[in-house]
């Protein structure tokens, strides 16, 4: 009988360093997983940040939309904090103020450390198909057109109507008197918005000086750079005597006020500023945007260009001197022109001249009689027209002029000459 050999027990033990390998491997795994969780956490944080930012940007846009509705009342120039939807984090700060003829809308909101704000320059007039191209005051005389005058749009004129005429042998040469509609109606022209009449040097100074930085100019020539954001307080450059703006840069929230005269040289760079003085003389070939408000005389030299949004205005409340606006040849403005006088002028005297080859893209308002020799691509409200030719004066005559409403851009936004509760339209976003 064979004796069986006892079975040798198998050795299942592993070397000790295997455990170290396993531990190392698992540690790496744990690190990767915790890394992924951390990554997810930061992604979520970033998502929340993005969403919060997008949310307040949308709320600020909504606030601007709300302020565009003039029915919604806000205290003028005072910031108001408002919850838009009565939700969490939907508070915005609103402010509606006047900037000369325009409205200035400001809205801002904050999310964590991120602040977002928008500012817009707005007007209360916008292009509409039913707007009149010409609204003529009742002078009991027909509107006589001669030469190559073009009238296109809706014309609201006195019952005497429109007829063809001739001046110094220059007969009306077109086949149609009016390309559009003529509405005969004896009515006076609308009274201008009262808040525009407040745009006088002393009034502006009294209204704005307490909340702004007033710089009293000691030298008459200003040739410096002044760029002021609309988020900053207003800067007023003031002088009792003449101010000459030569090779200067004036941009943004800046007002130049003189009790006497402001002369703007052609090299001056002006954007969005307000200039207000008794007399304003703009040198030929100047180019810039702004609101130029004179109480006596406003003269634009030839070939000046005023891109949108620009305003040229003469607002006269005194008996003397007689106000006058002179828009020389080849001048071009995209905006509004206004000539207003509190006291009626002498008979056969014009309140202004729009010279040949000059062009207004926008609107023209005057409560006096004006000499229109250039083009208006938009609408005109006037008491009447004066034409001086060959030593004679013709009342309610237009020669080689153009009033064409169809050429006013469809997106045009300007100022309404009457108080209105129409919603404001954005002319320009400000920085």
């Amino acid at each position: 009988m064979k004796r069986r050999k006892p079975e040798r027990k198998k050795n299942t033990a592993l070397p000790g360093y295997s455990l170290l390998y396993v531990l190392f491997f698992l540690t790496i795994l744990a690190l990767i997983i915790s890394g992924l969780i951390t990554y997810r956490f930061f992604c979520r944080r970033q998502s929340l940040e993005w969403m919060g930012r997008a949310n307040i940007e949308r709320n600020v846009q909504s606030a601007i939309t709300l302020m565009r509705d003039q029915v919604y009342t806000l205290p003028e120039g005072q910031p108001v904090v408002l919850s838009l939807f009565n939700d969490v984090n939907d508070s915005v700060t609103l402010c509606r103020a006047r900037w000369g003829f325009f409205s200035l809308l400001k809205a801002s909101a904050r999310f964590n450390k991120y602040e977002y704000s928008l500012m817009a320059l707005c007007g209360d007039y916008h292009h509409g198909e039913k707007e009149a191209a010409l609204l003529l005051g009742n002078t009991f005389k027909p509107l006589c057109i001669c030469g190559n005058t073009l009238l296109k749009g809706i014309f609201k004129v006195p019952k005497a109507g429109i007829k063809a005429g001739s001046v110094a042998g220059n007969y009306y040469r077109r086949s149609l008197l009016v390309e559009g509609e003529v509405i005969a109606k004896d009515s006076s022209i609308p009274i201008v918005n009262a808040c525009y009449l407040h745009l006088q040097p002393q009034h502006l100074l009294n209204d704005y000086a307490p909340s702004s930085r007033v710089v009293r100019l000691r030298t008459c020539t200003f040739n410096d750079t002044l760029s002021n954001s609309f988020e900053e307080p207003l800067v007023i450059l003031y002088a009792k005597d003449i101010i000459i703006l030569d090779r200067c840069v004036l941009r943004g929230n800046v007002m130049v006020i003189s009790d006497s005269t402001i002369r703007v040289e052609s090299k001056a760079q002006i954007a969005d500023a307000i200039l207000c003085a008794k007399n304003i003389f703009i040198e030929p070939r100047f180019k810039g945007t702004g609101q130029f408000i004179a109480t006596d005389t406003l003269r634009c030299g030839h070939s000046c260009t005023f891109p949108v949004p620009s305003i040229l205005a003469v607002i006269n409340q005194a008996v003397n001197p007689v106000p006058f606006i002179y828009f020389e040849e080849h001048c071009h403005i995209e905006g509004a022109m206004l000539a207003w006088t509190a006291n009626p002028l002498k008979q056969y005297s014009a309140i202004g001249v729009i010279s040949e080859h000059s062009r207004i893209v926008g609107s023209l308002y005057t409560n006096g009689e004006i000499s229109l020799l250039g083009e208006v691509h938009g609408n005109v409200i006037s008491k009447g027209f004066i034409l001086r030719k060959s030593g004679a004066i013709y009342q309610n005559y237009l020669m080689d002029a153009m009033i064409d409403y169809s050429r006013q851009p469809k997106f045009y936004t300007g100022i309404s000459y009457q108080p209105t509760i129409d919603h404001l339209n954005i002319i320009k976003w400000l920085q």
Binding site: T12, A13, L14, P15, G16, S18, L19, V22, L23, L26, L29, A30, I33, S34, L36, I37, R40, F41, C43, R44, Q46, S47, L48, W50, M51, A54, R58, N59, Q61, S62, A63, T65, L66, R68, D69, V71, Y72, L84, F85, D87, D90, H423
Partner: protein, 116 residues
């Protein structure tokens, strides 16, 4: 130095359990984040937001709801308490499980919106 095989098995089991716990925690974390209405993928969220903004700009409320891949965008306009001509435009991005992932509100002018 040698360890017994059973010890190694214990170590492996305990680490597997630990790993499982970490994975579960991660899954719970992600699912909670999702249930809060946040997207996992930031790019998807941004593209949906852009689409939503685009649809807001048009203000065309003819087609109130429309599909975008697996999501549905629902739009509605209701009068606001501010003025009669201001509307509250609200739109929601709803996922296939009918959960609201995004909700936007903004004010628009009545004249700017198009109603059939």
């Amino acid at each position: 130095m040698h360890l017994k095989g059973s010890t190694l098995v214990e170590v492996l089991v305990s680490f597997t359990v630990l790993l499982f716990c970490i994975s579960m925690a991660a899954m719970i974390f992600v699912s909670v984040a999702r249930s809060n209405g946040k997207f996992d993928d930031l790019d998807a969220w941004i593209s949906l937001q852009n689409l939503a903004v685009e649809s807001r700009v048009n203000y065309d409320l003819t087609e109130k709801n429309f599909d975008f891949h697996h999501f549905q965008i629902q739009r509605s306009a209701v009068p606001s308490s501010f003025t009669p001509s201001i509307l509250i435009l609200e739109f929601k991005v709803v996922d296939p499980d009918n959960r609201i992932r995004l909700r936007y509100k903004s004010l628009i002018m009545k004249d700017d919106a198009y109603f059939p």
